[in-house]
């Protein structure tokens, strides 16, 4: 026991000396951060004027499949606006139920229906966001990747351009990987 006294004393000094790091231990769950990312993505993307099939004055964010966000999404961004439009959050169980959304988050549960989803989204100016592996390699536009417990993202710029979306250079610069024409896409 005696040999622990020095440790105890040193340890105690730490508590006494530096008590105010409380702010730094902000604990945030993965999907809270991802929800904030969705909100931020919308700021850096331009949708083609008049090209939207959306008649309402809302900015629609859709979640397709098993919703990993839960109530977090509504709480964080449900009452906010993007580009002066009120945010409307819609959830879809099945690709067949899809209606136009500015931004669509595709849950990992929809992996098997990926081909059907792409067919459904053909011609629509929808920004697709996903987190399944290979998402941006297969015409998905933005893919979340976790690096060292931090949220990062990949971009398939070609897929976004094909859908008539303009991604700001800032967004492209922050991505950990950008897929462009140099790498041959699937010819959509």
């Amino acid at each position: 026991m005696k040999r622990f006294f020095p440790f105890l004393i040193i340890a105690s000094l730490f508590f006494a000396a530096v008590p105010s790091r409380a702010q730094e231990i902000m604990r945030v769950s993965e999907y809270e951060v991802k929800a904030a990312f969705l909100f931020n993505f919308a700021k850096f993307v331009e949708w083609p004027a008049g090209a939207t099939q959306d008649t309402s004055s809302c900015f629609c964010i859709g979640i397709l499949g098993n919703d990993p966000f839960g109530p977090v999404l509504d709480r964080l961004i449900g009452s906010k606006s993007i580009k002066n439009k009120k945010i409307l959050i819609r959830r879809f169980d099945d690709p067949g139920d899809l209606v136009f959304c500015h931004l669509l988050f595709i849950s990992n549960s929809e992996r098997p229906d990926w081909a059907a989803i792409q067919e459904k989204l053909r011609g629509a100016s929808t920004l697709t966001v996903g987190e399944m592996e290979g998402f941006t390699d297969n015409r998905g536009m933005i893919q979340f990747v976790m690096i060292d417990d931090r949220v990062h993202f990949l971009i398939n710029a070609d897929a976004a351009e094909n859908a008539g979306l303009k991604l700001s250079s800032k967004l492209l610069n922050l991505a950990v990987g950008v897929k462009r024409k140099s790498v041959k896409g699937n010819g959509a």
């Binding site: 040999r3 105890l8 105690s12 790091r21 409380a22 098993n66 390699d137 976790m146």
Partner: protein
């Protein structure tokens, strides 16, 4: 004499008083701090968001609630918070896994009964590499280790998983996964000492290039001192191991990635010979152990609906035991796995694999293996399909593994699993599966005074029926319940001087776990396990000892783990374990026990962490488990304290 005893007791109380006072003082500082202000994340820039380290807690129950099996995942954070320094100690945190320490370097670890030094129904993998010994059917836990801060997670599946994982995944699978190299960049080091692990330390350095290449190297060492025998004399179970390794990942986020990793270790484990039959304690002796492995894995994601994994490894294990079995073996393993999804009806995984083992077992005074060196292999193939109905509400997975091994020939291990989601929060599942435990080299080729191997030894077989309920009550409460009925036959019996398969058994049990966060800074985990095992002898068997096998593992076990995050960056963890009594056929018994482990950690400045860990605080010492097979004399678990300082740059 009396007086000095009294004084000692007084001194003991005072010591604990000091520790308590210190704890209280630290906590008073901690509680005095204000709780961090809620920040509106949407106000933050993308750069800021990318810098936030997130907790992945919410993902875990969701993933688990999707699985038609009894699964538990222990995260890096859970392991760090518990202050554990060995894998067996980490496994104590998993509800439903029995961990019994035999001596300072030997454990009996298994889920759903059958705990033993060589618990042969529990498969263990480290980064996709099987560490289950083909010599003994079991795991030499003293030779299994990783750089603990680099563990990503430990996934534990209770119940058979043989349809995917293959033979010996009978009662459960422990899957230890380390982090990707990209996640372990920078320099990290820790060092500490204590009353049980006398000194320990390690360091890791990792880096990455912009082109998608990342690497890390690590080295660690520990010296675990000897513990004491039941009556108080010093045992010879010292244990020290030096280990180093690396991992390199190439991942350009183009759908192709490659991993190359390896480890090497060397050390010494101490044992005390137990003279069979007479149960007399013999001499203590050290056993040098060493080994290494090299593993390569190529992953190709063709599309979100199709991916391929190709894996290859070589593993070398050396054990120079001068009294019992001394030998070495090489394992070479090749595995290919492809996953294909198309619509709701097809989510298929299939794969093929081949594993080859070449061993050499040295002859000694007591034990001979005939032949002393042998080559054997296992060829395997598996296929599993998952079909979902009713918009994913009902999922059916069916599959089987088919294997051919040189000991018992062809084996099939099918399983059928059904999961149904009820509402948003509940899911219930049921499964029926068959799994086998294949013969080991020992059961085939051993020649010993008391028992002989048997070339006609069969696989042990299990048919298991399982049910479960995952309840995702709120964002803060997750409940998981599983029940099972297992029917075993052809279990190993030790007939007069030969191994046979004349034992049958029925086991039934329930396992319940809850994960509750009453506050943002407080998380509580509870686990309860109950298992009843009844063995019966087939006609002609004389292995009457085996009838008491059900008493050799604790029938029930209850754990509570509290994790508190106090302001001022103090972490306070407390674990309580209540474990039922065990008895062995040799009239030894271990009474039930209640123990408490705790850890207090603080991080006064970013990157520096100091922690104090106390284990088995309630009793000065007590026994935890008895070894049944080729044995070393068990020793007592002692109350212990340790202190760790870690630095991250």
């Amino acid at each position: 004499m009396d007086q000095s005893l009294h004084f000692k007791r007084f001194a003991g109380t005072r010591r604990w008083g000091v520790v308590l006072a210190w704890t209280g003082w630290c906590m008073s500082f901690a509680l005095g701090q204000t709780v961090p202000q809620e920040v509106d994340l949407t106000e933050l820039s993308l750069e800021d968001l990318m810098g936030i380290k997130v907790t992945l807690v919410s993902r875990r129950p969701e993933k688990m609630s999707e699985t038609a099996a009894a699964v538990y995942v222990l995260t890096n954070e859970d392991i760090r918070r518990a202050g554990v320094t060995t894998i067996p100690d980490a496994l104590r945190l998993v509800p439903g896994v029995g961990v019994g320490r035999i001596d300072a370097n030997k454990w009996a670890i298994s889920s759903r009964g059958f705990m033993d030094l060589f618990a042969n129904k529990q498969l263990v993998l480290i980064d996709g590499r099987c560490v289950y010994s083909p010599i003994f059917s079991g795991v030499f836990w003293e030779a299994q280790d990783v750089y603990m801060p680099d563990i990503d997670r430990i996934e534990v599946i209770r119940g058979p998983g043989a349809s995917l994982w293959g033979a010996n995944a009978v009662n459960g699978i422990i899957n230890i996964v380390t982090r990707k190299a990209i996640e372990t960049r920078g320099f990290e080091t820790y060092a500490g000492g204590g009353t049980e692990q006398k000194k320990f330390g390690g360091a890791r350095y990792g880096g990455a290039s912009r082109s998608g290449f990342a690497y890390r190297i690590y080295a660690k060492y520990f010296d675990c001192g000897a513990s004491v025998f039941e009556e108080g004399s010093r045992a010879a179970d010292n244990w020290d191991v030096l280990r180093g390794g690396f991992r390199m990942d190439w991942d350009r986020q183009t759908g192709k990635s490659f991993t190359l990793q390896g480890d090497a270790y060397g050390g010494q484990v101490g044992s005390t010979l137990q003279i069979p039959v007479l149960a007399i304690r013999g001499f203590g002796y050290p056993t040098p152990i060493s080994g290494g492995n090299l593993l390569g894995r190529f992953t190709r994601v063709f599309s979100p609906a199709s991916d391929l994994i190709l894996q290859f490894y070589v593993d070398r294990v050396v054990r120079k035991d001068s009294v019992t079995v001394s030998g070495s073996y090489y394992t070479v393993d090749f595995d290919l796995q492809h996953r294909l999804r198309a619509g709701r009806a097809l989510d298929m995984v299939w794969g093929v694999g081949y594993r080859h083992t070449a061993d050499q077992i040295e002859e000694n005074k007591y034990i001979i293996y005939n032949p002393w060196e042998r080559n054997y292999g296992v060829a395997s193939a598996f296929v599993q399909d998952e079909i979902s109905f009713l918009k994913n509400r009902l999922r059916l997975a069916a599959g089987s593994k088919f294997e051919y091994n040189d000991f018992s020939g062809f084996e099939y291990q099918p399983s059928l699993r059904l999961l149904s989601k009820i509402g948003k929060r509940h899911s219930v599942w049921a499964a029926v599966s068959r799994a086998v435990r294949t013969p080991s080299r020992t059961e085939e080729d051993l020649h010993h005074l008391l028992v002989e191997g048997n070339r006609d030894f069969l696989s042990e077989k299990l048919v298991a029926f399982e049910w479960g309920w995952h309840y995702y009550a709120t964002e803060r409460l997750y409940i998981d319940v599983a029940a099972y009925v297992n029917r075993y036959h052809h279990l190993r019996s030790t007939e007069p001087v030969v191994f046979r398969n004349k034992l049958s058994a029925r086991a039934g049990g329930v396992e319940a776990a809850a994960d509750w966060s009453p506050r943002d800074w407080w998380r509580l985990r509870l686990g309860y396990t109950r298992c009843a095992l009844n063995t019966s002898l087939d006609s002609g068997s004389l292995n009457f000892d085996a009838l008491r096998m059900g008493e050799e593992s604790p029938a029930s076990q209850f754990t509570v783990h509290s994790s508190m995050e106090l302001a001022g960056c103090v972490e306070f963890d407390l674990t309580g374990r209540a474990v039922g009594r065990i008895a062995s056929a040799r009239l030894n018994r271990v009474p039930s026990y209640l123990e408490i482990d705790t850890r207090i950690g603080c991080s006064p400045v970013q990157g520096l962490e100091l922690s104090l860990t106390g284990k088995n605080l309630l009793k000065k010492r007590h026994p935890e488990f008895l070894a049944n097979w080729i044995t070393s004399v068990p020793t007592d678990v002692q109350r212990s304290l340790s202190c760790t300082l870690s630095l991250t740059l």
